[in-house]
């Protein structure tokens, strides 16, 4: 995503499209892994407060990822239709910020869920 934004700033629209596509594929893969991890969980959300928390925070992350993929999809459609220029690419930047925010959320949330004592 970062590369895509850098490319559109330089006016390289072909690399912008590729960057957006790569982001989408990586995001979709993360989504798939997350859904698989949820299916494989050996407990459900009714067991205790921690289980409830795991499902709620995980579900929240999942929702954010779906929204990010939706945003990416639309930005990508507009990128392929040639909407963006080096001066006019606000939607790409906003989509990128959303992705960065989600990465930060993931690190904080799953760091707490899995790693902290």
């Amino acid at each position: 995503m970062w590369g895509a934004v850098s490319d559109v700033r330089r006016g390289n629209l072909r690399r912008l499209r590729l960057g957006l596509l790569l982001t989408f594929l990586l995001g979709a893969a993360a989504l798939g892994i997350m859904i698989w991890a949820f299916i494989e969980l050996p407990f459900d959300w009714r067991v205790n407060a921690y289980a409830s928390l795991f499902y709620t925070l995980g579900g929240y992350m999942l929702l954010l990822l779906v929204i990010a993929l939706g945003m990416n999809l639309f930005v990508q459609v507009w990128a392929w239709r040639g909407h963006y220029t080096e001066l006019d690419h606000t939607a790409v930047q906003n989509s990128a910020w959303f992705v960065y925010a989600i990465v930060a959320f993931w690190i904080i949330t799953f760091g707490i869920l899995y790693l902290t004592p």
Binding site: W45, R46, N48, Y50, T56, T90, A91, N94, I112
Partner: protein, 741 residues
């Protein structure tokens, strides 16, 4: 008729006509063309699309006032019940429902929307710009707020009125003790109204930081804008834990999660923490904008500038920060460790310092000025008297032993009504009397205004002062009656009479408003001889606010600015800015252009296009409320339909609506060395981030903070719990007092 664009403008280079104009448009003046561009569309569909800050601000205020009336009727019915001992006017159940609805209405549906309505209505004019940055967000906010409120009140029709108090403590509000849908109404209907508050908060922050008149540095910004900025930040950080808490409680009730179940490692006390970390800042995010109104009205009617501007601003910001460190003083009787109670008791007393600074600044301004006792000023005097009394009792209840004595008694009811009615409602009325002429073009009637004030002031004190005494005598709050032997019947009768006198005062206000809209004295541009920019334009103001944006060179532009100077200590040489603003007053006339300025110094940064009318924000708001409403009744299919409509609406809302970047825009950029962005409004958000403050990232950051804090608290002792995932367990071993209590 020629347009101003075609007229020579002295030193200003001629600005070319950019669009091929048809004959009809050519006949309009520049101002008329601008009005045409900025006006809301006509008709019924146009009403749904309308997004002008005037319309949305007024709608928010009117809706908030409607809920104020409804909440007031709840209160009057309660007062009738309490007028004499062991009354059978209503059942205990009905009484529980009424105090729940009264508190929830006043806190969620009156105070916050009223202040946000004030902000959306006034800020563009006070800041010397043309519009709020995201007007569609304002439309979304209003539809969400009014429909969420009506959904909440529809519980009366369904006969399932929430009855657990405005704080909805668990386990009473949990699935075992409240199995019906009453609490779902409370959680879901008010939850969606909270979304409205957050949406408006985002818009207000961005407007204040990035859409001020050139030269309006932070140090020249009116106190009102500072207050609204603190309020909007507080909304983002206070409402987030409440939304999270409401979500968790609803998950416990509907999906069987265990957040508040102590038998499965949950904690009922956590609800109180989540609620009050919202609930206490909620009080201050009502008081802070009210203090902003006071700081605007006091100097005007004292005929001098505000004493201690810098200290007042620091006090406002400090109040915002400190308000987040006070929530536990609502929980002194819960059984917390002494160390935490000591901390929160100290914080409760410390917040008296910024409140005291402001009070002293206002009193100094009045005493060193030449006061004019018009109606807005009378309400300010009423505010000072009642708020100081409420503040003193606030310091009293922040002392733990005293709080233990009076907790859940009528003394506390008296205290917080002195703070909330004295500290919020009086300034709101002052603000309405002060600013209404700007938007109706007519002054409100002075005689009726004074009658309103005296009825309200006397009624208020008659209603609430005796409650201090009845509380000391042992009258408990939230109980539907009392016994004659308690000796509080006369005090209660006085309170009931006082409440009805207050209601008469509100009735006089409504009559005054309706009468003066048609028959009031014409206001002129600046009826109060005020100093801020909203009084520099006509009354009522045109839809575009200012055609020629002003350059601000003083904290009191209408009192101190004379002529046009070449140099300004903030902007430097303003010749180019002057030329640019002159050109901007004549172009563009086909899209809504507004100016983005620097967050610190208010230097011009960019010209961008404010979003135009669209049906999608209204559709999104209606569909969002439909989702929550459907969930109250477990109509999942309707909720799914609502989700689909919300997604479609958001896509429609943000669908590119392009105006091509032509040679004319480029010419303007080169001529005045400023970016022109006719495509969309989003660039301002990106620009704001350069100063590390941004619209949509703030709620994300708040969500991030809330989820991580929540996760952190819950994960104390996580490792052992990890091993117990698959079977039911007793409470988690807790190490952290913060989580344990």
């Amino acid at each position: 008729m020629t347009t101003a664009a075609e007229e020579p403008t002295g030193a200003v280079p001629p600005v070319p006509q950019h669009f091929p104009a048809d004959r009809e448009r050519e006949e309009l003046t520049t101002a008329e063309k601008m009005e045409q561009v900025w006006a809301d569309p006509p008709g019924v569909v146009g009403w749904f699309k309308a997004l002008q800050n005037d319309s949305i601000g007024v709608r928010l205020m009117m809706t908030a006032f409607l809920f104020f009336i409804l909440g007031g009727i709840n209160a009057l019915l309660m007062r009738v019940q309490l007028a004499n001992a062991e009354s059978t006017f209503m059942s205990p159940q009905r009484y529980n429902e009424l105090f729940t609805m009264h508190g929830s209405t006043m806190m969620f549906l009156f105070a916050v929307p009223m202040m946000e309505g004030f902000a959306i209505l006034l800020l563009p004019l006070i800041l010397g710009n043309r519009e709020m940055p995201f007007p569609r967000l304002g439309v979304f906010s209003w539809f969400t707020m009014i429909l969420g409120g009506l959904l909440f009140y529809s519980s009366f029709i369904a006969g399932t009125v929430p009855d657990t108090g405005w704080f909805a403590y668990v386990p009473l509000s949990g699935p075992i003790y409240s199995p019906g849908i009453e609490l779902d109404y409370w959680l879901l209907a008010l939850g969606v109204a909270e979304v409205a508050a957050i949406a408006a908060g985002v818009e207000i922050i961005l407007a204040i930081l990035r859409m001020r008149a050139p030269g309006m540095s932070l140090g020249r910004m009116p106190v009102y804008a500072w207050a609204m900025l603190v309020m909007a930040f507080s909304i983002l950080f206070a409402f987030t834990p409440l939304v999270v808490g409401s979500l968790l409680l609803e998950l416990d009730r509907r999906l069987g999660t265990q957040y508040f179940n102590p038998e499965a490692a949950g904690s009922p006390i956590m609800w109180q923490h989540l609620f009050w970390i919202f609930g206490h800042p909620e009080v201050y995010l009502q008081f802070v904008p009210a203090a902003g109104i006071v700081s605007m009205v006091v100097p005007i009617f004292s005929r001098r500038s505000l004493s201690g501007y810098t200290l007042v601003v620091i006090a406002l910001v400090a109040t915002g920060f400190l308000s987040f460190g006070l929530w536990v003083h609502h929980m002194f009787t819960v059984g917390l460790p002494q160390i935490s109670m000591t901390f929160f008791a100290a914080a409760g007393m410390i917040i008296g310092i910024p409140a005291g600074i402001q009070t002293i600044a206002w009193i100094t301004t009045i005493f060193t000025g030449r006061p004019v006792f018009k109606t807005p000023f009378l309400f300010i005097i009423g505010f000072l008297v009642t708020f100081v009394l409420g503040g003193i009792t606030g310091i009293m209840v922040s002392s733990v032993p005293f709080d233990w004595q009076v907790h859940d008694s009528y003394f506390v009811v008296a205290h917080f009504h002195y703070v909330l009615i004295g500290g919020v409602t009086f300034p709101v009325f002052a603000g309405i009397y002060y600013w209404t002429p700007k938007f109706t073009g007519r002054l409100l009637d002075e005689r009726l205004g004074k009658l309103h004030f005296w009825l309200f002031f006397i009624g208020f004190n008659l209603a609430f002062f005796p409650m201090h005494i009845s509380g000391f005598l042992g009258m408990a709050r939230r109980v539907y009656t009392y016994q004659e032997e308690l000796g509080v019947e006369t005090l209660n009768l006085l309170s009931t009479v006082g409440a009805f006198i207050m209601a008469a005062g509100v009735a006089v206000f409504i009559a005054n408003f309706l009468y003066s809209r048609r028959n009031g004295q014409p206001a002129g541009n600046n009826p109060w001889n005020a100093d801020t920019l909203e009084w520099a334009t006509t009354s009522p103001a045109p839809n575009y606010g200012f055609a020629h944006l002003p350059i601000v060179r003083s904290r009191h532009p209408l009192w101190e600015q004379t002529g046009i100077e070449e140099e300004d200590e903030v902007l430097g040489d303003t010749t180019n800015t002057e030329r640019m603003l002159q050109a901007l007053s004549e172009w563009p006339l086909r899209w809504r252009a507004a100016l983005v300025t620097g967050a610190i110094n208010g230097e011009p940064v960019e010209i961008f296009r404010v979003s135009g009318p669209s049906i999608w924000p209204a559709v999104a708001g209606i569909a969002l409320v439909a989702i929550f409403g459907a969930e109250v009744f477990s109509l999942h299919w309707l909720a799914y339909l609502g989700i689909a409509v919300v997604i479609i609406s958001f896509i429609g809302w943000h669908w590119p609506d392009r105006i091509p970047f032509t040679e004319k825009e480029r010419e303007f950029e080169e001529q005045f060395n400023i970016r022109v962005h006719p495509t969309a409004a989003l660039r301002s958000a990106v620009g704001a981030w350069r100063w590390r403050s941004c619209s949509w990232r703030l709620p994300l950051a708040a969500s991030c903070l809330a989820t991580s804090t929540f996760a952190w608290r819950t994960r104390s002792g996580r490792r052992r719990a990890f091993r117990r995932w698959t079977f039911s367990s007793p409470a988690l071993p807790q190490r952290c007092w913060f989580w344990r209590y």
